[in-house]
Subunit: 317 residues, 2 copies
């Protein structure tokens, strides 16, 4: 049994083609080549915990991933996320590895899913990237977009100018060669008016993006909402999208933007396509720059299976 | 973050009053002082995995427990169970400890629940203990009965004489001073005819104990069935019991003997009482030696919370 610490995990990740790994996980999921039970959820006074688990039939391990979000940790000077990933042998059930990733692998696999969404759905003429939020996902999402778009103009929205300034400073220090030119705004309407590749990363429970400001030629990746009560996007936007994509249709019925749309509006589940089918080529990606597209990411265990397996033994694609 | 290996876990367990700890967990559960979401379950080709998790409000940690059963491991010379327990801070979500118990703590907390069942429900005039099965639970259940009954006459049932002989040998070697006089039988009817404290510990999916052989003055603890499809006891026995007790009423509606009774027979959930209420004194234990009593144990996360917390910091009762 191997225990792998965060530094070693980061070093192993460097050599992995994460987009290919996570794409193949989504394909396995959408083609029914995996077993992914419903997400386990624990709600505490100060935070929430998600347990995502399952296995891909052709692979050696089943994986159990724990990731928590305790937003009040910020005031304590602690990271808001923690967690770990556990790999067990599918044949014998034996524990093979504990990845003490402190939530890092969840952050990364979520950002990689955002990059995959942009790869298939961002308009060719992406002129400005809009990031909604200033937390960890607001950072890693932008980092992982670097390899899938040539656009380097970025507008970041946040409620706090202090956090916006910190975001700009950290992104410059952390990725000095990315070439991103980052400006900030506290006016959410600016994001929709100026940006056509928008990533929402907040834990908001009230819509931030409204249908009034919705423009053609826009792609939105909705990352923040992963529970039944969180919502960053007016459900009207989902109705008006030319293409509406879920990372997992069963999960998006219960949590995330699509679940809100199903409850609030006359959103028809038939209009939702699953990301793995697009990657596999059995459903269409964006075909026209004028289209409006929305990808709703709730986070699927196959992402955890793929990234943890890659870290552990690096030989599964 | 502390990683605690099996040998250290066993050594720390030695000093713990496990019956008191697990009893207080059941009371917290039945009085609504805990949060225990539905059991997570993963079914694989060769085995099954249960994820049990939750927290008791007054305590410092939330606990996630993974335990697997891969019965075919026996042929490979490997233990059939594996798993671990994870403790996280309720205030910040931070991972505090990984207990690499390889399923041992699950075995022990299950056996302790069996001892608690016997403590409250075994007839005073227990003349012979009947153990159904020859696996790990068949052993630990008997070990933990030692402190709650004076009876030392034991009859063990199994299908294989080789396994029965090994059981007797192992129990003699492992607990030379227990004083148990163990005989064996391959005739299941003998268990019901000779024993009045019966513990069933098999993964059977067909009833082993039948209503025809049911006698007054009998207590049965049903340990083996913890899924919707497993069953060791004819549901008619549940109907005829004077007292029918569940470790968790919500769980027993979905898995275990009571769930079978609800599906197969006209068992009324109103007639089921919860173990924590009996321990707390708000429901009656056995009041008369002539009664027939059945305790259905499916395994509740509060047991995992209590035993893992006791191992980790030893100061919570």
């Amino acid at each position: 049994m191997h225990i792998i610490e965060l530094e070693e995990i980061k070093s192993r990740l460097a050599g992995v083609d994460l987009i290919a790994k996570i794409e193949s996980g989504f394909v396995a999921y959408s083609l029914g080549r995996s077993v992914v039970p419903p997400v386990g959820e624990l709600v505490l006074e100060r935070g929430e915990v998600h347990i995502k688990y399952g296995y891909i039939h052709s692979q050696p391990y089943y994986v159990i991933k724990i990731a928590s979000g305790f937003s009040g940790n910020e005031q304590l000077g602690l990271p808001t996320g923690d967690g770990c990933m556990l790999l067990f042998c599918q044949q014998t059930g034996q524990l093979k590895s504990v990845l003490l990733d402190q939530g890092h692998l969840t952050d990364v696999r979520t950002a990689v899913a955002g990059a995959i969404a942009a790869k298939y759905f961002a308009p060719k003429s992406t002129t400005r990237i809009g990031i909604v939020g200033t937390g960890v996902q607001a950072r890693v999402q932008l980092e992982y977009l670097e390899s899938v778009t040539e656009c380097r103009s970025v507008l970041v929205w946040g409620r706090s100018q202090v956090k916006l300034d910190r975001y700009v400073r950290d992104m410059r220090n952390g990725r000095p060669n990315s070439g991103f030119r980052i400006e900030t705004t506290r006016d959410i309407a600016m994001i929709q008016q100026q940006c056509n590749l928008i990533v929402t990363t907040t834990p908001s429970t009230k819509p931030l993006l409204d249908a009034e400001n919705l423009r053609p030629r826009t792609h939105i990746t909705a990352v923040g909402s992963d529970t039944p009560d969180k919502q960053e996007i007016d459900s009207e936007i989902l109705l008006r999208a030319d293409l509406l994509i879920a990372d997992s249709i069963p999960q998006c019925q219960l949590r995330g933007e699509i679940s809100q749309g199903l409850r609030n509006k006359t959103l028809d589940l038939e209009s939702v396509i699953e990301l793995g089918h697009v990657i596999h080529g059995t459903a269409a990606a964006r075909t026209d720059d004028s289209q409006i597209t929305v990808v709703d990411l709730t986070g699927v265990a196959v992402q955890d299976i793929q990234i943890s397996t890659a870290v552990f033994d690096g030989d599964v694609t």
